[in-house]
Subunit: 136 residues, 2 copies
Amino acid sequence: MNDHYDKIKNLLIQKNIRPSMHRIKILEYLLANETHPTADRIYNALSAELPTVSRMTVYNTLAIFTERELVHEISIGENESRYDIVTEPHGHFKCTSCGTIYNFDIKADLLASIEPVDFKVMERDVYFKGICPKCL
Amino acid sequence: MNDHYDKIKNLLIQKNIRPSMHRIKILEYLLANETHPTADRIYNALSAELPTVSRMTVYNTLAIFTERELVHEISIGENESRYDIVTEPHGHFKCTSCGTIYNFDIKADLLASIEPVDFKVMERDVYFKGICPKCL
DNA sequence: TTCAAAATTTATAATGATTATAAATACATT
DNA sequence: AATGTATTTATAATCATTATAAATTTTGAA
């Protein structure tokens, strides 16, 4: 039975995160909505189903997820952080017209090739801004 | 005479910014301190010489400078913006140990090569994080 | 099962960078 | 000098995030 939640639970356990109800629901939301949501957006979406959830829990949970590298925090010059399920390395493009944040591919070895020598690089963010095809 | 300030004035005039005293002093500070200062750091440094300067003026001025592309705003995942005199394209590396933000070279054509097709890219930020040679 | 310690969650208030607003001052042009 | 415009200032407001401590839930041993 419940394959769906078992998979999500296992993702948490693999990262050494205890699978509480709220953590499962937040991870489920992130897996289903690859729209780079903000903490507030997640909070609002979950409030419908989990009336007792608090904003703090969302913030706490996202902090743990980020620390354990389940998600990646995006700070593309806005005043609020956005969150992305970590998969392949990729860049982010923000359309300054409609606000949408797009993913775009970047080859991992290309990213490695620009690393400054003698520095230990642990995190790589590429943020481009401009106008998306829809708005052009 | 006063070559120094004439040069700074001209930089402002070239970008269509009227060269008020405070704007000249802020640009002078940015030219002399390529340390990616925050608005607050600039405000504090200038307060010594210009006792009447207000924080708002620093914020206003940095906003104009950014808009006219005299400086570049850096948002490398901190809660405050930093400012960089715009010169050649380059990446930024933040040492998570000592907090220093380093510049590192990126070839302009390499940056162009990773642009997603059909998007009009107007701004390119590359932010790496990790440990710098000093802290290693 | 029961109980105590640990982990998680909640409610509330605080923080702090940035922005909004409107008044005051400086500047430019006739 | 007078007038309109641009700049600067002081003050208060905003708002995402964090701090704190109490409440609740979970866990694991007895």
